[in-house]
Amino acid sequence: EADIYQTPRYLVIGTGKKITLECSQTMGHDKMYWYQQDPGMELHLIHYSYGVNSTEKGDLSSESTVSRIRTEHFPLTLESARPSHTSQYLCASSEYGQGHLHFGNGTRLTVT
């Protein structure tokens, strides 16, 4: 079982609110990722990081931002949430040279 934790598990907020989704891993992995997933659908990469102070945008355009100040922590922030942001957000990590990912259990976000 991977040691990667996401909080909150569920979040319902109103339009225009600023939110931060938390992700932490205790495996010492340098690489971390954020994916967006609608129920039962494929995963889309929105952000990733190769290590501290490294952040990159993924394939799917996103209005969110990320930061990587510590190896174990990779929070995702939405400055002004909109209903179109309603989705599940999955955080993952991997070791260098490892082609597969360890996932957290996700945050299910609903913006009303």
Binding site: I4, K31, Y33, G40, M41, E42, L43, L45, Y48, E56, G58, L90, A92, S94, Y96, G97, Q98, G99, H100, L101, H102, F103, G104, N105, G106
Partner: protein, 114 residues
């Protein structure tokens, strides 16, 4: 664009039967393939992987088959159990490409009939 896809969005099998979940990929340069299992309310969990220099790889109750000629990948689950009920995703990558190069398919929901 290139993508990884699964043939069926839903597969229903009887408990105890074998399940076969299929996936077609289109990127000929991909040489590393992974199957993930995602249970309801959880993140995807790694099941098994295979490199392109292999045609078959077996794990505990699972077997992955790779046919590079037709760019087809399958996951076989032996003696399906209720705990196998989940959405299964295939993903492709290139060896050494890093997990940011992973491309996921749409997923097949495996339903186990009692």
């Amino acid at each position: 664009g290139e993508s990884v896809g699964l043939h069926l969005p839903t597969l229903s099998v009887q408990e105890g039967d074998n399940s076969i979940i299929n996936c077609a990929y289109s990127n000929s340069a991909s040489d590393y393939f992974i199957w993930y299992k995602q249970e309801s309310g959880k993140g995807p969990q790694f099941i098994i992987d295979i490199r392109s220099n292999m045609d078959k790889r077996q794990g505990q109750r699972v077997t992955v088959l790779l046919n590079k000629t037709v760019k087809h990948l399958s996951l076989q689950i032996a003696a399906t159990q209720p705990g196998d009920s989940a959405v299964y995703f295939c993903a492709e990558n290139m060896i050494g490409g890093g997990a940011d190069g992973l491309t996921f398919g749409k997923g097949t929901h495996l339903i186990i009939q009692p």
